[in-house]
């Protein structure tokens, strides 16, 4: 009450609608909070929950192969059954999985020494330069990098030219080219979490380990690795999931091969079979859910 009189002495605010709303909001923090988060929440629900549900439902429809119209009246499990039983989809799933796994292993193996050097050996100046060097490729477009590899690996390209004196031949377009390109493109995403993880390993632990007589390998195995494991998994999630859903690189350097993403793309974009595309898209989603559930137990998700 006294507040009101004080305000009135200055100049009474006009009782506009906006002011009434504002007063109400200031009295009810819950409403305020609700309004604040409703937009991002709606966005999340729309993008993730609704989109996933739409995907699942779309997979139950069928499509008229001649006119390309969707038949939404009768729901059927045919698409899901086809995806599960057809040999082709199993082959492609396995191919995609092994590409993703190979890329991940290569990236982790390459990233470990680089990250270790950056975090533990390099001077602060060199460390800063290296962090920038690792980040720089992220500024270039994905397509540019993929096409760069296409010309590098092509007939008479850089690899063949450099390798000729050594008798090395370009692998040409195909799965090896896909693995090389993907490993290159996703490498920064693996180096950075591992680098961050290594920075958090105190140097004193390494000193203590060597004071207690442990050799290099012993220290790596018993001290660094257990501490670093969540960071490695975090990096692996990036390279694995990004490779799993990719269909552009394989289109550019993969020759005649197809991955799961291509099947989704051709069914949605070319064959006009949206329901089958939706059913196929559920495969990588399922794989990722299983993968994430498995790594959740390692605590790696805290490192993302």
């Amino acid at each position: 009450m006294s507040l009101d009189t004080a305000r009135a002495a200055v100049s009474p605010p006009r009782e506009t609608a906006a002011r009434r709303v504002s007063a109400r909001l200031s009295r009810t923090p819950r409403l305020r909070l609700g309004l604040l988060i409703s937009a991002p929440l709606a966005w999340l629900v729309l993008v993730y929950v609704v989109a996933l549900a739409a995907l699942l439902i779309t997979a139950l429809w069928t499509v008229d192969s001649f006119t390309g119209d969707l038949d939404r009246s009768a729901w059927t499990l045919d698409n899901l059954r086809l995806v599960l039983t057809e040999q082709l989809y199993r082959t492609v799933t396995l191919r995609t999985l092994s590409i993703a796994a190979t890329v991940t292993v290569i990236d982790v193996l390459v990233a470990l020494p680089i990250a270790f050097y950056m975090a533990k050996v390099a001077s602060p100046r060199v460390q800063r330069i290296l962090v920038i060097a690792v980040l720089t490729p992220l500024w270039a477009s994905y397509l540019v990098k993929a096409y760069a590899w296409r010309s590098t690996l092509s007939d008479g390209g850089l690899v063949e030219w450099l390798g000729a004196p050594l008798g090395v031949q370009s692998p040409g377009y195909g799965l090896p080219a896909v693995v090389i390109t993907q490993a290159y493109i996703w490498l920064p995403y693996v180096i950075l979490p591992i680098f961050a993880g290594l920075e958090r390993v105190p140097n004193s632990l390494l000193d203590a380990s060597s004071d207690l007589g442990a050799g290099t390998w012993r220290t790596v195995r018993s001290v660094i690795m257990p501490l670093l494991f969540p960071a490695i998994i975090a990096g692996a999630i990036f390279s694995f999931s990004l490779t799993l859903g990719d269909y552009i690189t394989v289109n550019i350097v993969g020759g005649a091969n197809q991955m799961l993403g291509n099947l989704v793309y051709t069914n949605a974009g070319a064959a006009n079979n949206l329901p089958l595309a939706a059913a196929l898209a559920l495969i990588p989603i399922t794989i990722m859910i299983v993968f994430l559930a498995a790594v959740r137990r390692t605590g790696a998700l805290d490192n993302l």
């Binding site: 906006a18 002011r19 709303v21 504002s22 309004l35 409703s38 937009a39 709606a42 966005w43 729309l46 993008v47 609704v50 989109a51 739409a54 779309t58 499509v63 008229d64 192969s65 001649f66 006119t67 390309g68 119209d69 969707l70 939404r72 082709l88 082959t91 492609v92 010309s151 092509s154 007939d155 008479g156 390209g157 040409g172 377009y173 993969g254 020759g255 005649a256 197809q258 099947l263 051709t266 974009g269 070319a270 064959a271 006009n272 079979n273 949206l274």
Partner: protein, 399 residues
């Protein structure tokens, strides 16, 4: 305080707008249920034209709508824009399936459709009847291109014939002896010479190329029409393509990708269009029409049933089939023009002879793209495989 409130309100509006947009996008993704599979038999073609709307959007094969941006000398859009005041936006597509998807969005007023697309557009109600009386230049078009099974249904015209041409066999003369037969890309003994450097068109319709080869080389299979295959014949074609797959370096549907692959030497032999041969400035890259004949296309300019720029659409159809524009466009793409008058306008005086324009007999040797359907196109009493089976088979072939 007031300022803050407005800002928040603005953000909420933005969120609501985003929500609405996403919902629209989602429902659009779900496809358009408004015009079920029963076509639009009741729809009428317009009786007369009005004022031009000022813009027209065109969906076409690459090389059909050239405004000089690819090659300053190749331009038949600018003159149209000046004459009619209709500003042209265009999009190119790589396969008929892709075009079907794009056409269904309703964003395009005019669509250049091959025979494997036109009937599907008519059946799904995405194509509107066309009043040919309103297209001045329709009269001069070769009669055998008019009222054909891929542009006319129940006596109603759905489009204006553009031109036709064959899918050729392209090769790099430095690495390959001049082929005379499609066997060069279907027989193992031939393909072994260029393992991993064979290319093929990345679309289910390519199965017809294999079927055509089988039709000529294995008469036992009894293939009469490469677009009318029963299960056994389809299986034979699929087997042939699976063999071919082992020698294929990459498939192409993006014509720029094929141009690049032939330029670098990553592909040395495979199916092509004349426009691709023209685009490669390497004298060793040549194309032939093999002795078995070829699959081919016969294209129609169609009007979208969702078009909001009908007058400009008619203006475009009239322009593109005019002798001058048609001569330019068909010569650039490498196909036969649609009229005698266009033949006189071509830069190369032998163009029409090369592409056998107006030669009905030759035209009958070509197998124009059609959509395979259950009811056999060659009229025999059997159950044929339809396009969804072809699509399924095609993913299997690629493996």
């Amino acid at each position: 305080m007031k300022h803050n409130l407005t800002r928040r309100g603005g953000r909420r509006t933005a969120a609501a707008a985003l929500t609405a947009v996403s919902l629209i996008a989602l429902s659009a993704c779900g496809g358009d249920g408004g015009n079920g599979g029963d076509g639009n038999g009741g729809a009428q073609a317009v009786e007369e034209l009005g004022e031009n709307e000022g813009q027209v959007s065109i969906l076409a094969w690459p090389g059909y709508v050239e405004d000089g941006s690819n090659d300053p000398a190749v331009d038949w859009v600018s003159s149209f824009e000046e004459e009619t005041g209709c500003e042209v936006t265009s999009k190119v597509y790589g396969t008929s399936d892709e075009a079907l998807n794009l056409a269904k969005t309703g964003e395009y007023d005019v669509i250049a459709a091959s025979g494997d697309l036109s009937l599907r557009l008519i059946a799904s109600g995405d194509a509107a009847p066309v009043n040919t009386d309103l297209v001045e230049n329709y009269e001069g078009i070769f009669d055998f291109l008019k009222d054909t099974e891929w542009n006319t249904v129940d006596g109603v015209n759905y489009g204006i014939p553009h031109g036709y041409g064959a899918n050729l066999l392209m090769y790099n003369a430095d690495e390959v002896d001049e082929p005379t037969s499609w066997g060069a890309v279907f027989e193992e003994s031939e393909m072994q010479k260029y393992q991993g450097k064979v290319t093929a068109y990345d679309s289910p319709i390519y199965i017809a190329d294999a079927a055509l080869y089988l039709m000529k080389t294995q008469p036992d299979l009894g293939i009469e029409n490469p677009y009318a295959l029963d299960q056994e014949q389809l299986d034979a074609a699929v087997d042939l393509l699976k063999t071919q797959r082992q020698y294929v370096g990459e498939y192409w549907s993006d014509y720029l990708k094929e141009i690049q692959a032939f330029q670098t030497g990553d592909s040395v032999i495979g199916t092509t269009w004349q426009v691709i041969v023209n685009a490669i400035d390497k004298p060793s890259i040549k194309a032939v029409l093999p002795e078995e004949g070829a699959t081919a296309w016969n294209d129609t300019w169609m009007l979208s049933s969702q078009s909001e720029n009908v007058n400009c659409a008619y203006a475009w159809m009239n322009h593109i089939v005019s002798p001058e524009a048609n001569a330019q466009a068909t010569e650039y793409f490498g196909e036969a023009p649609n009229s005698e008058a266009a033949c006189e306008e071509t830069e190369n005086p032998d163009h029409c002879e090369t592409f056998h324009a107006g030669d009905e007999e030759y035209s009958e040797q070509l197998w124009y793209w059609r959509t395979p359907v259950k009811e056999c196109l060659d009229g025999r009493d059997a159950e044929c495989t339809d396009y969804s089976q072809w699509t399924q088979a095609w993913t299997e072939i690629k493996g």
